[in-house]
């Protein structure tokens, strides 16, 4: 039998890799041709379908009180929401704004204390021996257990909430940064030593950049933890914010704003960690490029 081989046309000139906008366009085209965007869309559709079936189509016994997707989305995008919260009400944005502001402040404080603290703890054995036991004792205490103390220590609504969110992300950031320093290969310190570095040069050129991949992994976890503890804190003490919205809606028996609050929280949280990831990749070109070469 004759086998017909279709000739494959090879490009006559190997073009240089595209950059900038061209590259983005190329990646977009490539991803449209791969199955992943369609799988994602199908997955999303399936989840919403199950949600809809449980709550609205079949109305199973335990799901009757829960608002279904049709109710949620028609309320969320309605100019005249029946339960008071939609994308057209200024109150909705005020809740988001208040929570984001608290997260921003808490994340900045936690990062500016946690990263240097972690770097010094990883770098100096003496400093680590002084501070590590205290950190390890405080770290396992759940954030909710800090709530009474926070309310006693700080006045008003704002400061206790920020304190709690800061505390949670501080531990994560510090610990990850310290592990980052400890993960740096001894050979880099030796190389820096025999090239004539001072202790400060080693810190600046080896300790900081070497720990950076761990630092950014830590920051991504830390911003998630900050959201987590922020909501817990807002539920106990607060006047505005997404956590407050969720709890107060529940208390007042309006379940639709409660679910809207939850979904908004998920989306905002996702965006914030994507922002941290973006900054990380920008700062660590060497790391991003090495990962890209491995096809990740």
């Amino acid at each position: 039998m004759d086998q017909v081989v279709t000739p494959v046309e090879l490009p006559s000139v190997i073009k240089p890799s595209p950059t900038g906008l061209q590259r983005t366009w190329y990646l977009l085209k490539k991803s449209v041709r791969s199955p992943s965007p369609y799988l994602m869309a199908a997955g999303l559709f399936l989840w919403v379908l199950v949600y809809w079936l449980l709550c609205e189509a079949l109305q199973l016994p335990r799901f009757v009180k829960i608002p279904g997707p049709v109710t949620i989305f028609s309320e969320w995008f309605s100019p005249n929401p029946q339960q008071g919260i939609s994308i057209f009400t200024p109150e909705y944005y005020h809740h988001i704004y208040v929570s984001c502001r608290r997260i921003f402040i808490a994340f900045c404080i936690a990062t500016s204390i946690g990263v240097p603290l972690g770097l010094f703890m990883g770098w100096s054995r003496t400093f680590r021996e002084y501070s590590f036991p205290i950190l390890e004792t405080l770290r396992p205490i759940p954030i909710l257990a800090w709530v009474p103390l926070a309310i006693l220590m700080f006045s008003g609504y704002e400061t206790p909430v920020i304190f709690l969110a800061t505390l949670a992300s501080l531990f994560v950031t510090t610990l990850n940064t310290m592990l980052g320093v400890q993960s740096i290969d001894e050979a880099y310190f030796r190389a820096a030593g025999c090239l004539g570095s001072s202790r400060w040069d080693v810190f600046r050129h080896v300790v900081v950049p070497g720990a950076l991949p761990f630092v950014f992994t830590g920051l991504q976890i830390s911003i998630g933890v900050a959201w987590f503890s922020l909501v817990a804190a807002e539920m106990v003490s607060g006047d505005f914010g997404l956590g407050y919205l969720i709890l107060s809606s529940y208390v007042n028996g309006v379940t639709v704003p409660m679910v809207i609050g939850m979904l908004t929280l998920g989306l905002v949280g996702w965006i914030t960690s994507a922002m941290v990831r973006f900054v990380g990749n920008r700062l660590m070109q060497w790391h991003a490029r090495a990962l890209a070469l491995q096809g990740r």
Partner: protein, 287 residues
């Protein structure tokens, strides 16, 4: 632009880089059990000599290198560089300095710096050159080593052979007295190794820097070296010194010559004997 050549370096090339190791011993003390890694080892290395250290795995070659570089202390004896005491009685640990630069077994280019930034690192932190001048000089030296197009690449983006070559350039830019190489081509395939050898020889012919090169590849040792020092298994001491009188510049034709074959034969028995002893000892390598 001033070119970096052997002729315009301070002092004549042959007057610096004499390394003398006298009666050096090293006792490790892990978990209270004394382990002798180096036992009264002595060698005199002439300025500009390519000195090849051959010995079975884990015999203490790296211990010796670490002592010269100032990473580890020694227990007895002394090490001098051009007559200056590096380490000895009363000063067990040598200071680390840019006159003795190590090229590591696994490679230690900083992955977060480009090749040019890596090469510029030494002169920059020592305050010899401004950052801009250091980068310029680094690019020149990379170009000289055939790496001109790779200055802006990160070490993770180039092949291991290129990275290793850049690492040697990073050492040479500091104009060191001794270059310490710890099995730098261990993980490479034979073809890449051959290219690396020729590049190293070419670099040596230009700079005439003293080279302290650890390997357990006998043919590599004879092909590159002026002298091959065969060490005994642990605790390591000097077993045999072989002078390699093959004229320089050398190229790969040397490998098939009668002279080369005789030198390999002369050295092989000594190395093989120690390898068997090391195998029977069967202990794990010391750091």
């Amino acid at each position: 632009m001033q070119k970096y050549t052997a002729s315009n370096r301070p002092g004549s090339p042959q007057s610096r880089g004499a390394l003398s190791i006298r009666n050096v011993s090293k006792v490790y003390d892990p978990e209270g059990v004394n382990v002798m890694a180096v036992d009264h080892c002595s060698m005199e290395i002439a300025p500009g000599e390519v000195c090849m250290i051959v010995g079975p795995s884990g015999c203490g070659k790296t211990t010796l290198l670490n002592a010269i570089a100032g990473f580890h202390s020694i227990t007895t004896g002394e090490i001098r560089l051009d007559g200056e005491l590096l380490c000895g009685p009363g000063k067990p640990l040598a200071d680390q300095g840019a006159d003795r630069i190590v090229v590591f077994q696994q490679g230690a280019l900083f992955p977060w710096k480009t090749l040019a930034e890596n090469v510029a690192y030494g002169p920059m932190v020592q305050g010899v050159l401004s950052k801009r001048r250091a980068i310029e000089k680094a690019r020149d030296m990379l170009a000289e080593a055939g790496l001109g197009d790779f200055g802006d690449k990160y070490p993770g983006e180039v092949s291991s052979g290129m990275a290793r070559r850049a690492e040697i350039v990073r050492a040479l830019i500091n104009n060191p007295r001794v270059l310490l190489l710890d099995e730098p081509y261990r993980a490479m395939d034979a073809l890449t190794k051959a290219i690396m050898h020729e590049a190293l020889l070419e670099m040596y012919d230009r700079t005439k820097v003293t080279i302290f090169f650890i390997t357990h590849d006998l043919e590599e040792a004879i092909f590159l070296g002026d002298r091959v020092y065969v060490l005994t298994t642990r605790p390591c001491s000097l077993k045999k010194v072989v002078d390699v009188k093959i004229p320089r510049p050398r190229n790969y034709e040397v490998l098939t010559s009668e002279q080369f074959r005789l030198l390999v034969e002369e050295t092989k028995d000594a190395v093989h004997e120690e390898a068997i002893k090391a195998f029977q000892l069967g202990e794990r390598e010391l750091a």
